[in-house]
Amino acid sequence: MDRLLHVTTGVSILLLAIILVSLRRAHIRAEYSVTWLAASVAMLVLSLWHGLLDAVRSLLGLPDSPLALFLLGAAGLLVLAFRSSVVISHLRDNNIALAQRVAILEHRLRDLEKHEG
């Protein structure tokens, strides 16, 4: 189990580093990085603090601590995936409205130019 927790510690640190570098390079906006940061910090804390992980395991009624960590990670990913779908839906709606507005304005602009010419 210890080796597995070492691996999750390493993965958490790597994830944190990737998020921070992405933030610094503006590859991800700050508001969308908060959930990822929270998830990776939670995973790091649980990997290092065996007592807390054991308490979570017994709270969930699970036989193994790594299983508890895995289930928490999976739940976090589901939340993140759903949040991404919500954001994509908003972006798609906005994109369609924007494309329609551009088309209408271009049409009206062409008409104005035609009348002026």
């Binding site: 369609i96 494309a99 329609q100 209408i104």
Partner: protein
């Protein structure tokens, strides 16, 4: 120019995506049937010569910057029509299946009854319109589903030959289904307690191209539309002020009377 030329003005819109085989003939036949009525071809980023042929036939073109699908394409036309002050808009498909000689009958019904939408119903016309069994089954299924939701029977809920008045334009310019919009649009109107009527219309074979609805896609269509219908039934829509139109129409004074 496509600006409305007075109260009661009509605009014919033609959504088009790669319709080079038919679009010129469609625009010409609409202009023959309705002289003086502007025809707006909304080009959904065709990669053939649809735009050039439609323009050569005398159509006004509204080119979209990227492909939006039928619903987004139609809504762009409705938005422009609303902003330009049109009182009535009639949609004709770009594949030549709708007979423009029926447009005056749709317009008369809109004017006489004051209903918000008139559907050119393909099932009871004089034309010999035939469809495959999968599509016929789908239409029958949606008739059953829509009957209790709309509170009245609808014969041809998938028809794209549709006329709307300014009150419906106001709603559609703000809220319109993006994919397979015909059936969901009926539910959108019903949510505002708007009325629709059907009149029998002639249906012609396609001048060119094939339907994008294959048998396999029909199943996706049914699931998608069914979901969309129930989402619209359950939808909570906040009251929002509609965008100010560029050209004011007489019908604007009544706008929003039936909002729920």
């Amino acid at each position: 120019m496509i600006r409305a030329n007075g109260p009661g003005a009509l605009l014919v819109i033609v959504p088009a995506f790669n319709e080079e085989g038919a679009i010129g003939q469609v625009v010409r036949s609409v202009k023959e049937a309705m002289p003086g009525v502007p025809v707006l071809v909304i080009d959904d980023c065709s990669n053939d010569s649809t735009v050039g042929l439609a323009a050569a036939a005398g159509g006004e073109i509204l080119p979209l910057p990227h492909h939006l699908g039928l619903g987004g394409c139609l809504q762009a036309g409705y938005k422009l029509a609303y902003e330009m002050g049109y009182e009535y808009v009639i949609r004709v498909d770009g594949d030549g299946q709708h007979d423009p000689r029926d447009i005056p009958r749709l317009l008369d019904r809109l004017r006489q009854t004051g209903c918000e939408m008139v559907i050119g119903c393909r099932t009871s016309g004089n034309g010999a319109w035939r469809t495959g069994w999968v599509r016929a089954l789908g239409i029958w299924f949606f008739r059953l589903v829509l009957r209790p939701i709309l509170g009245k029977p609808v014969r041809d809920p998938t028809s794209g030959f549709v006329g709307v008045n300014r009150r419906a334009l106001d709603v559609f310019s703000r809220s319109f289904p993006l994919e397979y919009p015909e059936i969901e649009a009926l539910v959108v109107l019903q949510r505002r307690r708007f009325r629709f009527e059907e009149i029998p219309c002639r249906m012609r074979p396609r001048l060119a191209g094939r339907s994008t609805l294959t048998a396999r896609k029909s199943l996706y269509y049914m699931v998608h539309v069914l979901l969309g219908v129930f989402v619209n039934v359950l939808k909570y829509e906040r009251r929002r002020p509609s965008p100010a139109p560029a050209v004011k129409s007489q019908g604007d004074d009544k706008r929003g009377d039936k909002e729920v």
